[in-house]
């Protein structure tokens, strides 16, 4: 508060457009989803009817829905672990160099971010081309004699999920690298210097100094990553489309199918509520971390 009643009230006026916009575009739609999850709402039927928890009973009896939860967990956890471990490794690799190495390290931070800037659609088309049965990878593997027949990577039961994870990691880890690297830069040099005088090895320095200083950042990024991966739709829809045999059908794909291919909006809403509950738990941790930071600063 600066001074006086007038300023306080005008503070609220400043926030009014934001508030109205966010309520109309997020809170209202969310409430609609939650309410709809208690209704039978099949698009070809004119009427909707209140069926209370029946939608939830239906979705948890659905084997495919349970399977899609498992696929989601597999996808989200593999990607999160790979994103952050790769980001940490690269940040260590480029950390605190002097002279030319320092300049190269610093500019790498700027260059490596480029894949993250591009659209998931672009990533999907490039990998569709590379992984094509007649594409680059099959071509080279065949020339090297490692495979006899070209493998349709994105349509194979063993490899589809692996490739989806690889594409996701390729596209999104630069962002995490950038933020972890920025956190590395905030660790004061004196700490390393005094550790060096005490004869600490590089590994000790990392686990005793660097990691404790950046662990908060890593935690925050983990939560953010989980949330982003939970909402991932594009890359799966445009490469495998959820196949083969539903092995890459994550919750997002499943909801999309239920709503926009089967037109069962009520059922899709209740599936959405399940995702919302998972996301809320993770958001809660994220917000707690955010608030703790705010108070320190």
């Amino acid at each position: 508060m600066i001074v006086g009643e007038r300023f306080v009230r005008s503070g609220f006026y400043f926030l009014l457009p934001l508030l109205i916009f966010l309520i109309l575009t997020t809170l209202l739609p969310l409430m609609y989803v939650v309410i709809m999850s208690f209704f039978r709402n099949y698009l070809p039927e004119k009427n909707i009817s209140f069926i209370f928890l029946n939608n939830f009973v239906t979705i948890f009896k659905d084997q495919e829905f349970i399977k899609s939860i498992l696929q989601t967990l597999k996808y989200v956890f593999s990607c999160t672990i790979l994103h952050l471990s790769l980001a940490l490794c690269l940040a260590v690799y480029f950390d605190k160099h002097k002279g030319i190495k320092g300049t190269i390290s610093y500019s790498m931070r700027g260059i490596l971010i480029i894949p993250w800037l591009l659209s998931w659609t672009v990533a999907a088309s490039i990998f569709q081309l590379i992984l094509n049965p007649t594409g680059l990878i099959n071509g080279y593997l065949k020339t090297l004699g490692l495979i006899a027949e070209p493998i349709p990577w994105l349509g194979s039961i063993q490899y589809a999920m692996v490739w989806i994870i690889i594409i996701t990691v390729w596209k999104a880890f630069p962002f995490f690298f950038m933020l972890v690297y920025a956190a590395f830069m905030t660790v004061p040099n004196e700490l390393y210097e005094s550790a060096e005088i005490d004869g600490a090895s590089n590994i000790t320095k990392f686990w005793r100094i660097t990691f404790p200083m950046i662990s908060q950042t890593v935690m925050t990024l983990t939560m953010l990553d989980i949330i982003w991966l939970l909402r991932q739709y594009e890359i799966i829809a445009l490469t495998t489309g959820g196949g083969p045999l539903g092995l890459t059908t994550t919750l997002t794909i499943k909801i999309y199918r239920t709503a926009f291919e089967k037109f069962k909006f009520g059922l899709a809403s209740s599936q959405g509520v399940v995702v919302l509950i998972i996301a809320s738990m993770i958001s809660f941790i994220y917000i707690r971390l955010y608030v703790r930071r705010e108070e320190v600063i």
Binding site: F14, L18, L30, Y32, Y93, T134, L238, A259, Y286
Partner: protein
């Protein structure tokens, strides 16, 4: 210490540096290879794309694919739509976010904490949840298959991030500036427009780029809410090409280059502000 030991240490030092440099180059190559391949395939004749073993650089160069897509009406319309929607999303979210961020940074009022949580939480909503009501509401409101509908949806995606980032930029401006402008007879809105706005130019650039990129790249809502030829976005155009039975790969790659190049150019010119905005912003480290 004699000279041979010193030179040994020096040699070891150079050896490590050389290894480090080779590692860096290999890594850069691995990360950029898919993008290199995209460009490389866009400038070769079609029969050259699937030649075995694939040459990394085309034997013959041709810009035919670019000529074809740049004269294709669908591409022109969807490029225009993308630029139009992204620009208006940027302007809209910067306008609402900067006003809101100023309020959050400068005033104390009841419920400010809850409001901040709410803004943070909206960033976390799984987008697929919002598709259902948006689809329903937009059909009812006549916003379905309209560019305006997409702009509204995108502003709501970018608003939380922009607001929180700009709040941290506003927080870095000393309060004494506001107070002196108030003493000079400036209204709160005058203080906002004349004093504070010009000082957070870097923050505006950073969040503006973020909003622009988000709107430019978003696929899920674009593919649901803007489906006709007239309103289709560039990424949806590319997505529809991937789904076709026989894909014209050189044209597809040329259009992905078309969809990526503007973002890379903007990023290169605004790199410094963008980096600062992202790392100091809403993701609060």
């Amino acid at each position: 210490m004699n000279t041979s030991i010193i030179s040994f240490y020096k040699r070891k030092y150079y050896f490590h540096d050389a290894l480090w440099l080779i590692g860096t180059i290999l890594m850069t190559f691995a990360i950029f290879f898919p993008l290199f391949w995209m460009v490389s395939c866009s400038i070769r004749p079609l029969d050259n794309v699937f030649k075995f073993p694939s040459p990394l650089l085309p034997d013959k160069y041709t810009l035919d694919a670019y000529k074809r897509i740049l004269t294709d009406n669908d591409v022109i319309i969807s490029s225009f739509n993308t630029i139009f929607v992204s620009s208006l999303t940027t302007l809209g979210s910067l306008f609402i976010a900067s006003i809101g961020a100023f309020g959050l940074s400068r005033y104390a009022f009841k419920g400010k904490r809850i409001l901040t949580f709410y803004i943070l939480a909206t960033q976390m909503i799984p987008l697929i949840l919002l598709t259902l009501p948006y689809y329903r509401f937009f059909v009812k409101l006549g916003l379905f298959d309209k560019r305006l509908g997409l702009i509204i949806a995108y502003i709501s995606f970018t608003l939380p991030f922009c607001t929180l980032t700009l709040t941290s930029f506003f927080n870095s401006i000393p309060r004494s500036l506001d107070e002196s402008s108030k003493i000079d007879g400036c209204s709160p809105f005058g203080t906002f427009f004349r004093i504070c706005m010009p000082l957070i130019r870097q923050g505006m650039v950073a969040t503006g780029i973020f909003a622009f990129i988000t709107a430019w790249n978003e696929y899920l809502f674009a593919s649901l809410l803007a489906v006709s030829d007239r309103t289709r976005m560039l990424v949806v155009f590319i997505g529809s090409k991937i789904g076709q039975y026989s894909i014209s790969w050189t044209e597809l790659m040329a259009s992905t280059v078309l969809a990526s190049l503007p973002l890379i150019i903007i990023y290169i010119f605004m790199q410094k502000s963008f980096m600062r905005g992202i790392t100091s912003g809403a993701i609060k480290m």
